[in-house]
Amino acid sequence: MSWYIEAGPHHDVVLSSRIRLARNFSGLPFKKRADRSTSMKVLDKAKKLFKGMLYIDISEINVIERQALVERHLISPELASGKNNPAVFVSKDESISIMVNEEDHLRIQSMQAGLQLESALEKAISIDEEIAEKEEYAFRHDYGYLTGCPTNLGTGMRASVMMHLPAMTKTGVMERTLEACSKLGIAIRGLYGEHSNASGYIFQISNQISLGQSEDEIVANVKSIVEQLIDTEKKLRKELLEKDRIGFEDEVFRALGAFSNARIISSEECLKLMSDIRLGISAGLLKQPGIEAINELMLMTRAATLQKSAGRPLEARERDIYRADIIRKKLERG
């Protein structure tokens, strides 16, 4: 099962974990000074290194395909609009994707369902070590792995966790949390919009500092913050449920009603409905749909992925109709 469908550890609050390593080859200019011949050389190296993986030449695919890869978390929007030999290598289960010629020569991404930072780190490291045996990285003993942007120096690592935090947001606890976290070098960003309904209450928690700490220390820091957020969110959900059980249930079942029966659903509404349904599942109110079905729908309902499955570009209203269609079909199938 793909990692983005799987229900991982703490799946009622944590959707997924990701480790990203930024790397450059020694002796070749970085993105800012790289011309076509440089990016070609980088791509050639990558082709030799990642022979067994699925290779996607970004410049050969259209805008919808590129956006679908972004929605699938395989590439960044930056790579999707890249000009000089942008490419990505993907493992069979999609848990590993290696971007080539993005902000740095290589961006190794390792993803796992739920809270599994250590396991994601292990996989990323093993790939990194394999590469280091065959190629020379740009590296200094004092600044660590050299990256185009100094914000990524040192370990070149970003450890991030995607979380569903509706209770914390609705009760206003989120604002205070943002401040506290930033003091600890942790960033919290709304993933699909601002801290509002529109975001589906999905947030990304990640480290801001990559130099001066070891990879294990960074992961331990992020994990400890995430665990506290999990506790707080769960506590607040329980309080919301106990304070007004019938109101809570009403929201959940109304959401399920609209989700399963509406003919037209915008992406914004879809995020809100899925958020309420997730809450319902986590509170034990819903047996169907299961968490894996919702995870799958999270991806299937996104704009480009939708159009890909429809086999043609769709206007906004067509998309909203098709979205409702896809949802009903999936819920019927189970």
Binding site: G27, P29, E78, P150, R189, Q204
Partner: protein, 219 residues
Amino acid sequence: MGDENMKCQKCNIREANVHLVKSVNGIKKEIHMCDKCAAEDMEMGELTAGLGQSSLFGLGNLLSGLFSAGYSLGEQEPISLTGSVKCKKCGMSLQEFKNNGTMGCDECYEAFGKNIEPLLKRLHGSVVHKGRVPGKIEHKIKADREIDRLKELLNKAICEEAYEKAAELRDEIKALERAKEESEQILKKSPVRNSIKYAKKKNIDNAKANDNDEKEMED
């Protein structure tokens, strides 16, 4: 997940790549705008007025803002404050880095690494890497770190006027640096590496490689 960009809060069309976190009376507010809207926005304009950079408002300006803020805290002036410091390899100047926020190549860190250390302190709180090291060069990194450590002790000894100790440390450092130089030379001339390359080129086996070398020199 992934570094998915949000849309600009103002125009809601372009990606937001300018992010500002305002803390007013303990209440934090995040502002996300694209380059264009940020440049046009009154508030953003005020914030950037003091930076005296080019009109393009981007990460580079934010970074260089941190840069200058670092100096105003009374930190040591860098070796060269002007943009005239250039990277020997790719030609990027310090000024260009300040405008864009990104380095041109690995050599740039050699050229103006010291200049940006206050910036690194602001970003990461540290200028020393504590994480993993690429396997092949692990021994070299250990040597570099040991040399740095001894140099610090040397400075301390000089300050304390412990000249005998200082002399000892200086000799230790010299020995380490020499050993490092030698092992690098050996690796460069590595018989295994070179002859494989050579043999592939000339399509002969390792044993003959050296003979051919001498023959060509005679010509």
